[in-house]
């Protein structure tokens, strides 16, 4: 039995979403996609995922703002977030802002998988 863990990916690159979705689904996760920050917050509130994968570089509402708003909303603030970033060295910034972990692009799927496993199993 065991319910599938649900992951929300907030990323504007459609092909990236395709690749990650395929990978995660093959590993037994359920994946929902959002292509910008606003959609992301909506889906987070609506679907209550177990984990959010968030790209920092998003159109309109950027990743930082997303994190801030996420943390403000009681219903969703406890959802762990893994941040995708192209810029290394900003790690500490995220820890401050509430992300659980980060991963730099380009990344290996295995790496992402193991991080996810660590957080939600």
């Amino acid at each position: 039995m065991g319910e599938k863990k649900r992951i929300l990916i907030v990323e504007d690159e459609k092909d990236m979403v395709y690749a990650v979705k395929l990978q995660l689904e093959a590993n037994g996760y359920e994946v929902i996609a959002a292509y910008d920050g606003n959609e992301g917050l909506e889906k987070a509130k609506g679907e209550k995922p177990d984990l959010i994968i968030l790209d920092i570089m998003l159109p309109q509402k950027d990743g930082y703002t997303f994190l801030l708003e996420l943390k403000k909303d009681k219903a969703i603030k406890s959802i762990p977030v893994v941040v995708l970033t192209a810029k290394p060295g900003m790690k500490d910034m995220f820890k401050l802002e509430g992300a659980k972990d980060y991963i730099t692009k380009p990344f290996e799927s295995m790496h992402l998988l193991s991080k996810i496993k660590e957080i939600i199993g």
Binding site: E13, D15, M16, Y18, A19, V20, L22, Q23, A26, M57, A86, P88, G89, D92, K105, P106, F107, E108, S109, M110
Partner: protein
């Protein structure tokens, strides 16, 4: 009533005016309406190699070539006719030798008491310098403008590269993942041929990624907007972490990767990511050059003033000609196995740049067919090296918040020996010291702000650390001075003899770096106070002494030391010595004229970069004394004391 004519006064004034006229370097003359020179000064006459009396009565046409005289006459006529002066008219004259001279002409009409122009007064002055200066100013302005433009372009270039690199990384990341998906058969089973093809694809994606990273790094460094983010790092941890990175690839290649770390924990104030990057580049390089069954060793050595990291391999080695170019950009070494030819050749030059930004040195020793040794040094952080994680985190957190810190380190040099000579028992001694420190701190603490506090004491070694948050360098110096004086008087009061309290100032990052770093997340000021029986233990003085090196096989070489202390010396040599090799030295001390002997070890090497035509390489080499006879040590101490 007729006024009394004071002849004396007139004579006096006349003398003064004549003096003025004849000593002024400007050419001054009086002309009448006909253009005849009525009065000229010495400078005027000298210009023709004559005396004034020879010139008086002549006109310009008698003195100058016709064309010139006509020009001058035209100016004269203007003044006579209009009654208007010509002031500071600049004319260019080229001398026979081709040099341009600039001359300023001033002509002022002379009136009689009826208001008629009866002549003019002329002043001619050489203004070549003024013009040149003007030109220089113009040139300077043009250069500044160009500079501003170049800076703008540079800024645009790095913004461009930054933007482009992100744009490149995203599709690259996607490609990577898509390939992996197929490779891992998530999209369905694949045959061996397909698997192999995809493997090669992945390898090339990795290549691309590395190239992009390096290009980006180099461009950031060059653009000057490169920043180092300092924090307190435990060196052993940093180095040990690198092993995770290479475990797999080393194993695949059948290479032994070993780490030799010292027992003593050392904390360094560095940018951990960047030093890690430098280290990884070196190890990566080493692995490239080593064949199956070979070894790569990473060793850390703690020297007096620096920490030295060595990456030593048993690979194919580097030829002498390649060695010289090794750290240059885009250089690929000739004998590299083609399978390993990855990257654009920026790894080593990046490593060098990163280490040098920290105030360290990088160098390499290699032998073809035997292997290579890459070394880099980093300056040490003078604080008791056993800082526990909690404390280190505290410091780093304060720094991240942008709060400047002051760390005062109180060290009793050679405390172990000193203890024997101090009549007070060690416990009382340290208790007293702590009391003094607390009292002094109490004086500088401000209510409502974070208090300075003694955070670490190492009674065994006589080291105390005080952290002073929110302090400026000025305040830190004040506190340090206060402490020093108090401790000094304590020592005197208790008859602790031969005490010398020295203020050692170490600031991180180095002042030079501070100017380069525009946004520093927090400043750390470190003051080290030395209390000790041995002066100048760590102080290095610029010193000239002739040293003879006894190399193997009875060969000696003479050098000039540039820097001498009790712990070692530094000198410049054309010969590249081997790191860690031992040398015998004999040194004639200039002041006492006595010769002392010592055994020393090569601790670090710095290649001196010179843009000269000399093909000769010069190296600055640091030696640490390993052993010295007591009497020689005493002589050296004496010599340094008197210095």
């Amino acid at each position: 009533m007729k006024k009394r004519i004071n002849y004396k006064e007139i004579a006096y004034k006349y003398k003064l005016l004549t003096y003025l006229m004849d000593h002024i370097p400007d050419v001054i003359y009086f002309k009448d309406r006909k253009g005849k020179l009525v009065l000229v000064n010495q400078a005027h006459a000298k210009g023709f190699g004559r005396k004034p009396r020879d010139i008086v009565g002549k006109t310009d046409f008698d003195l100058f070539p016709r064309k010139k005289a006509q020009k001058m006459a035209r100016d004269d006529r203007y003044v006579f006719k209009t009654g208007k002066p010509i002031i500071d008219k600049i004319e260019k004259a080229t001398s026979p030798t081709g040099i341009d001279n600039y001359v300023s002409t001033t002509k002022i009409p002379k009136y009689d008491n009826k208001g008629k122009v009866i002549g003019l007064i002329g002043i001619t002055r050489d203004v070549t310098k003024r013009m040149q200066f003007g030109r220089l100013k113009e040139k300077n302005a043009r250069i500044m403008k160009k500079l501003a433009m170049l800076e703008e372009m540079n800024k645009m270039k790095s913004e461009f590269i930054s933007a482009v690199s992100h744009e490149i990384r995203t599709p690259l990341s996607i490609i990577q993942q898509l390939v992996t998906l197929i490779f891992n058969e998530i999209t369905g089973p694949i045959n061996d041929k397909q698997k192999e093809t995809l493997q090669r694809t992945q390898d090339n994606i990795e290549r691309l990624r590395k190239i992009i990273d390096e290009l980006l790094d180099i461009s950031i460094i060059e653009s000057g907007s490169f920043k180092l983010h300092y924090s307190l790092v435990n060196l052993n941890d940093l180095i040990a972490n690198s092993s995770d990175f290479f475990k797999e690839s080393a194993k695949d290649k059948g290479i032994n990767l070993d780490y030799y770390l010292p027992e003593k924990q050392v904390n360094l104030f560095i940018d951990a990511d960047r030093i890690n990057q430098a280290l990884l580049n070196l190890i990566d390089n080493a692995i490239k050059f080593v064949e199956q069954g070979g070894k790569v060793k990473v060793e850390v050595k703690i020297l007096e003033t620096k920490v030295r990291v060595g990456v030593i391999d048993t690979g194919i080695g580097i030829s002498r000609s390649d060695l010289a170019q090794l750290f240059n950009k885009f250089v690929q070494v000739s004998k590299i196995p083609s399978a390993e030819r990855k990257g654009v050749g920026l790894g080593l030059s990046l490593a060098k740049e990163l280490v040098e930004r920290h105030g360290g040195e990088v160098w390499v020793e290699s032998k073809l067919g035997v292997g290579s040794k890459f070394y880099f040094t980093l300056p040490r952080f003078y604080v008791p090296d056993v800082l526990d994680d909690r404390l280190r985190d505290t410091i780093n957190n304060l720094l991240k918040k942008g709060i400047s810190l002051c760390i005062i380190s109180l060290v009793i040099v050679n405390y172990r020996e000193a203890k024997k000579r101090i009549k007070i028992g060690p416990e009382k001694f340290s208790a007293d010291l702590e009391l003094i420190m607390n009292n002094t701190l109490g004086k500088v603490a401000r209510p409502g702000r974070e208090e300075p506090q003694i955070v670490l004491t190492d009674i065994q070694n006589g080291e105390y650390t005080i952290i002073f948050p929110g302090a400026t360098e000025k305040k830190a110096t004040k506190l340090a001075n206060l402490l020093r004086n108090k401790v000094k008087s304590y020592f005197i009061k208790n008859k602790i003899e031969d005490v010398f309290v020295t203020l050692g100032i170490l600031s991180y990052p180095h002042e030079k770096e501070l100017r380069k770093i525009k946004h520093f997340p927090g400043r750390i000021h470190i003051k080290k106070i030395f209390i000790g029986l041995e002066k100048r233990r760590f102080k290095r003085i610029l010193y000239k002494a002739d040293i003879k090196f006894l190399l193997a096989k009875d060969k000696t070489e003479q050098m000039q030391a540039v820097d001498l202390s009790r712990g070692g010396l530094c000198f410049v040599s054309k010969r590249l010595l081997k790191t860690d090799s031992e040398v015998e030295i004999s040194m004639e001390l200039p002041k006492s004229k006595k010769t002392i002997h010592a055994t020393a070890r090569v601790a670090w090497i710095k290649r001196m970069e010179r843009a000269t035509k000399e093909a000769v390489n010069k190296y600055q080499i640091g030696l640490e004394f390993v052993s010295m006879k007591d009497k020689d040590r005493k002589l050296l101490s004496k010599e340094l004391k008197s210095g």
